[in-house]
């Protein structure tokens, strides 16, 4: 266990934000979960009691007759805002006094940094470069992430859970978002920051960064495993595998979705449903490709003269 190495990574000034992000996320997930849980209990109670559903004020927070339903922005909201501004300023001040912004040697194109890392918020994308060619990891995936986020309001036809925390009424939506945001985005940033060392090799926390380490690792392409040698054969085989993933995966997701999410399935138009499928399967495809690489040393699935997937 190389504690010094671990400390060097953890205390690198630009890594501090991620160290801060993880407990912050944990805290806010807890905060959201607590309210979602309280609301879910309330929903359960109201669904079982039609009379209560008509009279209850329907929030998990206390409310008594005679209380004002609305409060003045000044001072009740503005004081929160001013407090937030003051607290953020104090945090920033303390942070800026105690920790210096990093400044390395002057830029030198002839001296490559090893590892050369992007800023932390892009490390998820850089980590994807291990598993995909740059055109997918660096261009297609970010574009899909942006468009995927943008279509969310238009493909989420679930009318429940607007304006309050809940889990039971939106299991699929929230589960999917948590998977994309926490499991993929944040954990890949964490891997890129704390695990990846020189040569972008995998170093467990506490393992010494060995700049001369070589890993003997033969990465194979999927068509090779099946003994396909011709270019045309590889292209057709790969297209079939990728197409098969979307077709079979799509069918499985379809079967599950219409069974366990029947109402939302009925609410979706064909266009909404297909967009959901494309983005959902692409998102699922990412960790599958990662696992293929990490567990079976498979580099490419689909090989063509112009691009490889």
């Amino acid at each position: 266990m190389d504690w010094r190495q671990l400390w060097e990574i953890m205390s690198a000034p630009d890594n501090v934000p991620i160290i801060a992000l993880i407990p912050l996320l944990a805290f806010y997930i807890f905060l959201a979960w607590r309210q979602a849980h309280a609301n879910d209990l309330l929903i359960e109670r109201l669904e079982g009691d039609a009379a209560l559903a008509k009279t209850h004020h329907r929030k998990a927070w206390p409310f008594k007759p005679g209380w004002q339903k609305e409060v003045h922005v000044w001072p009740f909201l503005l004081r929160v805002e001013f407090l937030a501004a003051i607290i953020v300023t104090i945090i920033l001040m303390v942070w800026s006094i105690t920790l210096n912004a990093p400044l390395e040697e002057p830029a030198n194109p002839n001296l490559t940094m090893n590892p050369a890392k992007a800023p932390w918020y892009f490390l998820g994308l850089q980590e994807m470069l291990v598993y995909f060619d740059p055109w997918i990891a660096g261009v297609v995936m970010p574009t899909l992430i942006i468009f995927g986020l943008m279509v969310i309001p238009y493909i989420d036809t679930n009318p429940l859970g607007a304006g309050y925390y809940t889990w039971k009424q939106r299991k699929f939506e929230i589960g999917t978002f948590l998977f994309g945001f926490i499991v993929l985005w944040v954990s890949m940033i964490t891997i890129g920051t704390f695990i990846r060392g020189p040569g972008w090799q995998w170093f467990w926390p506490g393992q010494t960064w060995d700049h001369n380490r070589l890993i003997y690792e033969v990465n194979r392409d999927l068509p090779d495993l099946f003994g396909i040698t011709s270019n045309l054969g590889k292209a057709i085989f790969g297209a079939a595998v990728v197409g098969g993933f979307f077709a079979i995966g799509g069918f499985v997701v379809h079967a599950l979705y219409r069974r366990y999410n029947a109402k939302n399935y009925q609410r979706k138009s064909l266009l909404q449903y297909s967009i959901l499928m494309v983005f959902f399967l692409t998102m699922i495809g990412l960790p599958i490709k990662m696992l293929l690489r990490l567990l079976f040393h498979i580099k490419y699935v689909w090989i063509t003269p112009w691009f490889n997937v």
Binding site: P109, P134, L149
Partner: protein, 304 residues
């Protein structure tokens, strides 16, 4: 006053020069103390002064009307409604991350403008300017640290804001469009941070930007190493990466370009989107909740 007019001799009476001066002199002794007294009395109630009423257009006694006016008649606060849902001020619901993001944007603008006074976006001077800033400029180090950490904090705050909006389903009707504006603002925040990374012109920024922009080489159709790039006639000297960097390597032009995007281009674009974002928050009915919970049995399916 009326006497003075007479003293001018209009009614045929002529008054001597000495008398007039004497009278003026006496008026100093009588009028000025009276005026001074009046002035002091007036100052005892400063909210009645013309200066004060010209700035503050309404009274500030603690009445509901004045509380509402305090928000509505203030240009900086008027994006707020006068009154909101009693639960909408709960921090556990809002997390306050949108507001904190905006506040950090203001902090970054302020510190950024100060940093611009000490920085030349040229290969010869950029790195030295940062050294000068760190070692010679009073509070220069604090200034740079603050700009750096506020930028990181802003990225975190934006992501948490998006997270909260998702978890509360706040992107649902009628807020779909504003969610999209928000996604664009998220991208702009990342781009702002990324363009700033190169500016110290040190190894860290240089290689981060090299790694980042190398991906642009692989853009399908528009990058010289991307799928079908070669077929589109892309070379390192005319592809999309060349456009970003103003050259085939990260050099002086790239420094200047990222400086201009960072300090002028993206902030202006982001400001426009922010204006729309805040405006739409109000127009779409203010903050999304906390709403009363809805039960599955109450949903009326729209006729298709």
């Amino acid at each position: 006053m009326a006497d003075e007019k007479n003293a001018n001799g209009k009614n045929g009476k002529s008054v001597g020069l000495v008398d007039r001066i004497k009278e003026d002199f006496n008026s100093l002794k009588t009028d000025l103390p009276a005026k001074a007294k009046e002035q002091v009395e007036g100052l005892k109630n400063p909210t009645k002064t013309q200066l004060y009423t010209s700035i503050f257009r309404h009274k500030h006694d603690d009445t509901p009307r004045n509380r509402a006016l305090g928000v509505l008649s203030n240009v900086f606060l008027h994006l707020h409604p006068a009154k909101i849902n009693r639960d909408a001020v709960r921090y556990s619901y809002t997390w306050g991350m949108g507001g904190i993001t905006f506040y950090l944007f203001l902090v970054l603008t302020f510190t950024g403008v100060l940093l611009m006074f000490y920085y030349h976006p040229s290969k010869v001077q950029a790195f030295r300017d940062v050294l000068y800033l760190e070692h010679d400029v009073p509070f220069g180090k604090l200034l740079r640290n603050m700009h750096r950490w506020a930028a990181h904090l802003m990225v975190i705050a934006v992501e948490l804001h998006m997270f909260r909006v998702f978890l509360t389903g706040s992107y649902k009707k009628p807020r779909e469009f504003n969610w999209n504006v928000g996604v664009i603002l998220l991208v702009l925040t990342l781009l702002l941070s990324f363009t700033g990374y190169l500016l110290p012109d040190d190894q860290l920024g240089f290689w981060a930007v090299t790694v980042g922009t190398n991906m642009a080489r692989a853009t399908p159709l528009l990058g010289h190493e991307g799928p079908f790039g070669a077929q589109m006639g892309m070379t390192p000297y005319n592809d999309v990466r060349f456009g970003l960097l103003g050259g085939s390597i990260v050099d002086a032009n790239a420094l200047l370009r990222s400086y201009i995007w960072h300090c002028i281009g993206i902030p202006i674009i982001a400001l426009i989107f922010m204006v729309v974002h805040f405006w739409r928050v109000r127009k779409d009915g203010g903050i999304s909740g906390p709403n009363a919970v809805i039960l599955e049995s109450e949903i009326k399916e729209p006729r298709k």
